[in-house]
């Protein structure tokens, strides 16, 4: 009974923190510009199903894709067991599904154990790749101590949680022979290997071990759920909306600015659509997160910091400061900062800082070749280039601050209608020459 009450209390505390955190994230994303979502819903759902649920883009690199798939399936399937945990915890029962499922139950338990071991192995390999083999994409400049620690915390926590399940099952199997309260599960493939280690202990101690592992696992999972909202691991949820809202246009398309269309049409004496007052932004392009579309902000929370984008970026590969992953991490950091400011009841975004300059420098955005390698590489359909273009727009149009060579190119375009300083009259000379 005490355990049940404690469990209810645990769930309530968890629910409170989770809800608070979800609202925080929602509110920061809402700082962004609302953009219309166009294109067929069916195609969006298809993207979500293939890319987020089906992990399609992961398979461009087979080894990490396979290991990731193990953890992913493990996560989904073991959550079924968590459901049982929650019901047991509330009802004070033990393995409530077992009587209903009969012999299938022990099959399922064995499947869970295989998955748990799969997750253990995959996490271990990932830890080795990150910390021993030191894959370059996990050690580049923006991978400072926190992002590296974050990744390790997640992997280690997942391993500890899986060990807790195995340990709990081991103690449970011994208790099954000593006490009728413990529903028989039959011999479980992996946890039974731990039985010799525990067998000699007294029943009360084993009950303690089993309970401790149970509580450890469930509070661990709940705590982990809160933790990930502060971590790159949030991609396990955000990948779904992000792939749904990902743009459907050909990758080469850069979003149109209807406000500019209206102004230019008026200048050219063409019929301009829409009233001028409608959705006119404070300024052109983006200086801070509230100038960016909400989809870009959501993408920042969906980013797994995997660095696939950066590892394909021609600018980054040749030593330029630009890293598309850093762009996404900066947006997220700025979002979190703005969220903290707002909650502290202070200035919100008016804290003397902006995304441009305080997080992302001009040198970075000026290095982008708009080659789309980052978007192509991203396993959750993030497009860092869209953010880069928005920042460039601010610099070029609000500050006339583009690099001098670009300003010269603009001038050529205005006077000669070509980016170079050649007279328009010479445009057709190619046909006369040989």
């Amino acid at each position: 009974m005490i355990q049940q009450l404690l469990f209810v209390l645990t769930l309530l505390v968890f629910g409170y923190f989770l809800r608070r955190r979800i609202l925080q994230i929602r509110n920061t994303i809402r700082l962004g510009r609302q953009v219309p979502v166009t294109g067929p819903v069916a195609q969006r759902l298809r993207n979500m199903l293939l890319v987020a649920f089906g992990q399609k883009k992961m398979f461009a690199r087979f080894i990490p894709a396979f290991l990731h798939l193990l953890i992913y399936i493990g996560f989904i399937v073991i959550n079924l067991e968590v459901l049982e945990f929650v019901i047991d915890g509330l009802a004070g029962t033990h393995r409530i599904f077992a009587p209903f499922l009969g012999s299938l139950y022990s099959v399922l338990m064995n499947v869970f154990e295989f998955l748990a071991v799969g997750v253990l192995v995959a996490c271990a390999v990932f830890l080795v790749r990150r910390n021993v083999l030191r894959l370059p994409r996990f050690w580049s400049a923006e991978m400072t101590s926190w992002p590296r620690l974050d990744a390790n915390i997640i992997l280690i926590t997942e391993m500890v949680l899986m060990l807790a399940i195995l340990k709990m099952n081991a103690a449970d199997q011994i208790l099954q022979q000593r006490d009728a309260h413990y529903t028989p599960t039959g011999k479980l493939f992996f946890s039974s290997l731990f039985i010799p280690l525990l067998e000699d202990y007294s029943t009360p101690f084993l009950i303690f071990v089993e309970r401790f592992a149970w509580w450890f696992h469930i509070t661990g999972i709940l705590g982990f759920a809160i933790y990930i909202t502060y971590s790159k691991h949030l991609h396990i949820f955000m990948a779904f909306p992000n792939t749904y809202y990902a743009r459907l246009e050909p990758a080469g398309y850069i979003s149109n600015m209807p406000v500019v269309t209206r102004e230019v049409k008026t200048m050219l004496g063409l019929q301009a659509e829409g009233t001028p007052a409608e959705d006119v932004p404070a300024h052109f392009g983006a200086k801070d997160i509230n100038d960016l579309p909400r989809t870009s902000l959501m993408a920042a929370y969906a980013c797994t910091e995997c660095g696939r984008c950066t590892s394909e970026c021609p600018a980054n590969l040749t030593g330029k400061k630009l890293s598309p992953r850093k762009i996404m991490m900066d947006v997220r950091d700025r979002l979190e900062e703005a969220g903290r400011n707002l909650r502290a009841g202070t200035k919100g975004l008016d804290d003397g800082k902006t995304l441009l300059d305080h997080y992302i420098t001009r040198e970075e955005i000026n290095a982008c070749t708009t080659c789309n390698a980052c978007a192509e590489a991203c396993p959750v359909l993030i497009n860092p280039m869209e953010i880069i273009i928005e920042l460039r727009r601010y610099v070029a149009m609000e500050e006339s601050g583009a690099p001098p060579a670009w300003n010269a190119m603009f001038q050529n375009l205005e006077t000669n209608f070509a980016p170079w300083k050649f007279p328009a009259a010479d445009r057709f000379n190619w046909a006369k020459e040989n």
Partner: protein
């Protein structure tokens, strides 16, 4: 070369089947003008009813948009659309992937709806239809050619096959670079980088890419974009390989195999 312009044809009450959009590099860049002429020769030889805009053509606005100057882009775009719509243009072919992308993807929301082809696609069609006769096909037979994917053709628009199909028609030995197709490495010139120096780094992007192309052992690097042409040609020069390795556009390779040069 006698190249029909749209204004001449219109004055005669005629209209072409297709507009050849030359682009700024194709009009002004010494090296790419040769590509423009090669492609025009192919069109003439295939008796395509085409025209160009001549001095009426202006930049699509691509570099302005990518450098962040949306005003300038839209000025260019809306003026061009007025011109094209005024002539009733339906179909466009261009040898520049940047023009191709802008005309095809970015003009429709501004009121310009055209069927837009890149010259690699058009060449592939002509080859398939038997309208290009490769009389001098031996020219490249069995020779090692590697193809450098232009970002604005490949990743931006998914055109990976057409350029390769054109090269296959030459019966050349097509060797792929390690980073090719959707993983092809940029030449370094996109996103208006063509018009400024690279930011500080430890290597030029075009050198990185050229090294990769050279490592295939190909004696010809085929490109399909004026900016890639400049960047890879510079890269080959920097590696002092310009004697052994040639950088050629698809249209030039076809024109040579047709004996049109």
């Amino acid at each position: 070369m006698k190249i029909p312009t749209l204004s001449e044809l219109t004055a005669k009450g005629q209209s072409p089947d297709i507009l050849f959009w030359v682009g700024c590099a194709g009009s002004y860049d010494e090296r790419y003008k040769r590509v423009t002429r090669a492609f025009a020769r192919i069109l003439l030889a295939a008796e395509i009813k085409f025209a160009v805009l001549g001095t009426e053509e202006t930049c699509t606005g691509d570099p302005a948009r990518r450098a962040g100057n949306e005003f300038l882009f839209q000025m260019q775009a809306l003026n061009n659309i007025q011109l094209l719509n005024g002539y009733g243009v339906k179909k466009i072919v261009t040898a520049c992937p940047h023009c191709f992308n802008t005309l095809k993807n970015e003009y429709p929301v501004l009121g310009g709806h055209y069927e837009v082809l890149h010259h690699s696609q058009f060449l592939q069609q002509l080859i398939n239809e038997g309208r290009i006769k490769l009389t001098d096909a031996n020219h490249y037979q069995g020779r090692k050619i590697t193809y450098h994917d232009s970002c604005y053709l490949g990743r931006a628009n998914g055109v990976y096959h057409a350029p390769r199909a054109v090269l296959q028609a030459l019966e050349a030995d097509l060797v792929e670079m390690k980073r090719c197709k959707s993983r092809g490495l940029c030449c370094g010139a996109g996103g208006a980088q063509m018009f400024k120096d690279a930011e500080k780094g430890n290597k030029e992007i075009n050198h990185e890419r050229t090294e990769e192309a050279l490592s295939t052992g190909a004696t010809t690097i085929a490109v399909a974009c004026p900016f890639c042409m400049t960047m890879i040609t510079d890269g080959v020069k920097a590696k002092e390989k310009e004697q052994e390795v040639k950088v050629k556009d698809l249209a030039e390779l076809i024109a040579e195999a047709q004996g049109l040069t």
